[in-house]
């Protein structure tokens, strides 16, 4: 297919998300809203062992927000909250165009969202799940 609108990785995560489901073992959930369109996703994490042993998301959104959430969970599962927050920080740096090539490496597939910084109308879609994760983990760590 030559005329696909988004990057292959993004389209694939949107069409076949691995982490779009409920998570019965979740210990924390947190909802995030994209105020520009009203789309809402809820992030579910199992933090019972002090790290993200499992995670999922529920809710609706555009291809960018859905793929971004799915890619993010791929990256985050297995990480400690501190490592996860650091990666979320790098993701923000990528979106604002301040990331170094080495840092970009550590974001793995999330690097496919780098071009979003050229679509200002869609930045909020790409960052929705990451901001939601940051909120969830910050409040988890401050408990």
């Amino acid at each position: 297919m030559t005329d696909q609108f988004y990057d292959e990785i993004l389209l694939d995560h949107n069409m076949h998300p691995q982490h779009l489901h409920e998570l019965p073992t979740a210990t924390c959930s947190h909802a995030g809203v994209n105020p520009s369109c009203g789309d809402e996703i809820t992030l579910h994490l199992d933090l019972s062992e002090g790290r993200i042993t499992n995670g999922s998301f529920t809710g609706v959104g555009c291809a960018i927000s859905q793929a971004s959430a799915d890619i993010m969970l791929d990256l985050m599962i297995g990480k400690t909250p501190q490592e996860a927050l650091h990666l979320a920080e790098l993701f923000s740096k990528m979106i604002s165009g301040e990331i170094t090539p080495e840092e970009l490496e550590s974001l793995e597939e999330a690097g496919a969202l780098q071009n979003i910084s050229r679509m200002p109308a869609r930045v909020k879609c790409a960052t929705l799940s990451w901001r939601t994760l940051q909120q969830l983990l910050s409040s988890y760590l401050s408990q």
Partner: protein, 405 residues
């Protein structure tokens, strides 16, 4: 279809000859004559209107008041005292809610709205109800977006003080039977507020024929500049209402402790007014009159039917509202199976086609319909068949470009 090229009258289409603009319900483009009128005002007629005693200020006042006379005539009001200039429909609706609402609504009263109302015709009443202890109730529609007079009749109670409804919904494009609604309301002792934001640009509106108590609309959706709108109210109602905003221009005399207020309509126009915007609105009315609502309807109906019929043939495209293009007045809201409306709009944008996606400031309606968000294309008379063809040809490609076979 008459082949006059109306786009020639709109400079934006010389700036962007390829632009396919199908977001007219959000705001229309502006014809040269409107730009000229606003410029002429600031070049040769500008002073603070209603204040000065010198020639230029008299001229500014004349421009401003002539615009008011044009609005009165355009909507068939009885008197210029019934035309209040505001910034937009939102401000007009807030003016009613703050001024009339706080003076008249009490605990236990009911305010009735359509479930499809724009947030601008919902939030002012929500806040009013919360502050006064009144009850907010909604008339619901089916999937075709229709509301019947009988349904209104059944929903009214002896406590219903106010009913607010758009004449044309910005999602369905369907015309509501406002005249019948007004008759039913008045028999019940209920006031009727009509949101004309989407109807004024598309159909002739006459407030005395409709017999509405208030009508709100925005200039920017009817070819005029942003920042000028109007509120029509029956004189006896406006007369009895307290001012909304306080300050200069709206007074008769002021002492240290108190003030008496100016007569209508200036009582409701505190502070320096938007005379340049009013001049632009006047020119927009003149231009719309010149084109004529018969021609506007003929063109918009033909384009709406062309788009509607084309959309119906594309698999996975689902139309919102009536199954008859004649009920849509240029507003076609839709979804595509498996593709989020934001992605739909992004793909149209990539092909140079401007349209809107989201909840269109009507979240309660989307919830009622069980659809989180939609895409909407909206037509004006200056659109042409090429625009519709471009729209349909992109629409056909969307699922494929999102990775479906």
């Amino acid at each position: 279809m008459n082949n006059r090229n109306y786009k020639q009258d709109f400079p934006v289409f010389s700036e962007y000859p390829q632009l396919v603009y199908l977001d007219n319900s959000a705001t229309t483009q502006k014809p040269q004559t409107v730009l000229n009128a606003a410029e002429q005002y600031y070049r040769a007629e500008n002073a603070n209107p209603l204040r000065g005693l010198y020639d230029l200020s008299v001229k500014a006042t004349e421009v401003y008041e002539n615009a008011r006379a044009a609005v009165r005539d355009f909507i068939g009001a009885a008197s210029e005292r019934e035309i209040i200039f505001t910034r937009n429909a939102t401000e007009s609706l807030n003016l009613i809610a703050y001024s009339w609402g706080r003076a008249n609504i009490r605990e236990g009263d009911e305010i009735l709205l359509l479930i499809s109302e724009h947030h601008s015709n919902l939030l002012p009443w929500q806040i009013l109800a919360r502050e006064t202890g009144a009850k907010l109730r909604f008339l619901e529609c089916g999937a075709d977006g229709a509301y019947t007079p009988a349904a209104l009749q059944n929903a009214l109670t002896p406590n219903t003080r106010l009913f607010a409804a758009a004449q044309i919904s910005n999602i369905f494009g369907r015309v509501n039977p406002i005249r019948e609604f007004a008759e039913i309301c008045h028999k019940n002792g209920t006031l009727i507020v009509c949101d004309g934001a989407q109807s004024i640009p598309h159909i002739p509106v006459n407030v005395q024929e409709l017999d509405v108590d208030f009508l709100a609309f925005s200039g920017h959706k009817m070819l005029a500049p942003m920042g000028i709108g109007a509120l029509y109210g029956k004189e006896a109602l406006l007369d009895a209402m307290p001012p909304f905003l306080y300050g200069g221009e709206m007074i008769e005399s002021v002492t240290r402790e108190s003030a008496t207020y100016a007569e209508l309509p200036h009582k409701f126009e505190a502070g320096t007014v938007n005379a340049g915007g009013a001049a632009g609105l006047h020119a927009a009315i003149r231009y719309l009159r010149e084109v004529g609502f018969d021609e506007i309807r003929r063109r918009e109906d033909a384009l709406t039917a062309l788009a509607f019929d084309g959309m119906k043939q594309i698999p996975h495209v689902r139309m919102i509202g009536a199954d008859d293009p004649a009920e849509h007045h240029g507003i076609l809201t839709f979804t595509i199976d498996g593709v989020h409306p934001h992605d739909v709009a992004a793909i149209f944008d990539a092909d140079g086609i401007a349209l809107r996606a989201g909840h269109h400031c009507a979240q309660p309606l989307h919830r009622h319909l069980g659809i989180p968000s939609t895409a909407r294309m909206s037509i004006a008379f200056y659109n042409d068949e090429q625009d519709i063809k471009a729209f349909l040809s992109t629409l056909k490609t969307i699922r494929r470009r999102m990775g479906y076979d």
